[in-house]
């Protein structure tokens, strides 16, 4: 009878989607269900007999362990938010409940249940844009060097200029600086200087007084005022007109603005972070950007490299986007095939991280299974030429590309393509087979 009950208990434990961990009175694991295995990445065999802190490695193991608390107080601890580390070093937010196991008045162990809330926390982060240092993803030298100085930059009040091509994460970097700074509880206001015509730009940035122009029925504060006490992020600063540059210079230099239609300057306490995808120094030399403004905003310069120059970060970014889109789309994609990874590692990413994110989103929409495969990637990525760091192509690669080009020019007529290439039709057939050229794929 007891065996039967144990078997039923085991089936019940393994069928629920909440991690269950039972420890003895020395905090050694005696039971670990399937959901716990899935959340932590460890199998029961690996954790059996180990201390729970050796496996979960939570942020509260040292101080505030819910299981210890429940055992000491001989009562249930409910709904505690804790962060465990899975087998692969990834922090997993969980909600923990803990309860002591008491037999004949004596504590013989404890039971802890934990539910993975990664999806909820990922969505929360997306909405709040509450980025921390660990949210800047990368292990390349360029990123690590930014990492290294970011807390010091955040602590200072100096103006920051972030340079980098489009889609490299300039705004995330700016938000991280803000969140690490003493201004974190004040507003972060992002503004794209290329989004509006000059006249609107001025009223958006500096605001206007009632009656400043025909439709100005009431006073409207500008972005500088909205960011009071916090941080103003001016994206695409290189696209501003010379007239606006003068006004920006005054606002940054004097820390005061003059709303349209006002004669009284308004004091503003705002930290300025500027970003551009242009070479500002070149614009200065060409006379398109004011030199004095350039030196005013270029107190601290951070340069974000294009993704093709930090390829070692691609797997980390893919992992991050898989977690993000699992949360957004409610899917359970667990990995990526080696072939798909190979393509993504060798793509040139003209749109940088933003493009990689779009590729993963595309794959999520098309993927029917639990892993991203080559078929799930966009056609232009699958068929793109492999990015070469050296710029030198092998002879075989040149031959393959020339054949593909000839096929395209000839409208995929092999006879015509062979004539263009100056080879026999059968030789072309042989080479197409040799290079594994799929005409249907190149047609896409």
């Amino acid at each position: 009878m007891n065996d039967r009950i144990n078997k039923i208990c085991s089936i019940v434990l393994n069928s629920i989607d909440t991690g269950v961990l039972i420890v003895d009175n020395e905090f050694r694991i005696v039971t670990f269900n399937k959901a716990a295995e899935k959340i932590t990445g460890f199998s029961f065999e690996e954790v059996k007999g180990k201390h729970c802190f050796e496996v979960l490695r939570t942020d509260v193991c040292e101080k505030g362990c819910p299981l210890r608390e429940s055992i000491i107080s001989k009562s249930q601890v409910e709904g505690r938010r804790v962060e465990i580390l899975n087998k692969f070093g990834k922090a997993i937010p969980v909600i923990v409940n803990a309860e002591p196991i008491i037999e004949n008045g004596e504590i013989i162990g404890g039971i802890e249940t934990f539910k993975d809330i990664t999806s909820i926390e990922t969505l929360k982060k997306e909405v709040k844009k509450d980025y921390r240092l660990g949210d800047i993803i990368g292990k390349s030298r360029a990123i690590l060097e930014i990492f290294d100085i970011l807390p010091d930059i955040a602590e200072s009040n100096s103006t920051v200029l972030i340079e980098g091509p489009s889609g490299t994460g300039k705004e995330i970097l700016a938000r991280t600086i803000h969140n690490l700074s003493r201004r974190k509880n004040k507003p972060f206001v992002a503004f794209n200087c290329a989004a509006l015509p000059d006249t609107l730009l001025e009223s958006e940035l500096f605001g206007y007084e009632k009656g400043a122009f025909t439709d100005a029925a009431k006073r409207k504060p500008g972005r500088f005022e909205l960011a009071q006490g916090g941080t103003l992020f001016l994206d695409e600063i290189g696209d501003t007109s010379p007239a606006l540059q003068v006004k920006l210079l005054r606002a940054i230099q004097e820390k005061e603005i003059e709303p349209l239609g006002s004669t009284k300057p308004v004091k503003v306490d705002v930290r300025i972070i500027c970003a551009t995808n242009k070479d500002l120094l070149k614009l200065v030399k060409e006379g398109k950007f004011r030199e004095d403004l350039y030196y005013r905003i270029n107190v601290i310069k951070l340069s974000l490299p294009p993704l093709k120059e930090r390829r070692e970060d691609i797997p980390l970014l893919i992992e991050h986007f898989i977690t993000k889109y699992n949360a957004i789309m409610g899917k359970n994609i667990t990995g990526i095939t080696e072939d798909a990874m190979d393509i993504l590692m060798n793509y040139s990413y003209p749109g940088n991280i933003r493009e990689l994110e779009n590729i993963i989103e595309h794959a999520f929409v098309l993927s029917k299974g639990s892993v991203i495969d080559v078929d799930d990637l966009p056609a232009e990525v699958k068929n793109a030429e492999r990015y070469e760091d050296t710029g030198i192509l092998t002879l075989a690669e040149i031959e393959k590309r020339t054949i593909v080009k000839a096929l395209r020019i000839s409208g995929y007529n092999k006879q015509k393509a062979a004539e263009l290439l100056g080879i026999d039709r059968t030789t072309l057939w042989r080479k197409i087979k040799h290079y594994n050229i799929d005409i249907d794929i190149i047609k896409e």
């Binding site: 040292e62 580390l85 692969f88 240092l133 980390l316 667990t334 990995g335 095939t337 080696e338």
Partner: protein
């Protein structure tokens, strides 16, 4: 050689980021003769703790748990990180200085790269592939 171990009551702390003190062991050539010092780090953020190791000129960090981004930061600046180690801090330090502990434990993928063999999925984490290492 200079090694650091996050310490809690004489044992390796469960997590580097939340440890309250770090023990630093230093030896020249004789592993049996080492200098030991303890640094209180309860006021420091996880990143400040990592930066402290760089400032101290530590060669290796031995710990039980460490988050990926701190791991990448330290290894990126040539600090070797040996994780998944538990037990008495001093014994572990002595073993490490004598060269008895040298493995990087549980080095694996966060998101598996799955190899396709003969048209079928080969499940599990790929340990031999091109993308080996901790992400």
């Amino acid at each position: 050689m200079k090694i650091a171990i996050p310490d809690t009551n004489g044992n390796v702390s469960p997590r580097f980021e939340t440890c309250n003190r770090i023990k630093i062991f230093e030896s020249d050539t004789d592993a049996a003769n080492y200098k030991e010092k303890t640094i209180e780090v309860s006021d420091l953020s996880p990143f400040e703790k990592a930066r402290l190791l760089r400032k101290e000129g530590v060669d290796s960090l031995i710990c039980l748990g460490i988050e990926n981004w701190i791991y990448h930061y330290l290894t990126g600046f040539n600090i070797r990180v040996v994780f998944g180690v538990s037990g008495k801090t001093t014994e572990i330090a002595e073993d490490f200085l004598k060269g008895k502990i040298h493995r990087v434990i549980n080095c694996n993928y966060s998101v598996p790269v799955i190899m396709k063999r003969r048209g079928r999925w080969h499940h599990g984490h790929c340990k031999r592939g091109r993308y080996r290492g901790r992400w």
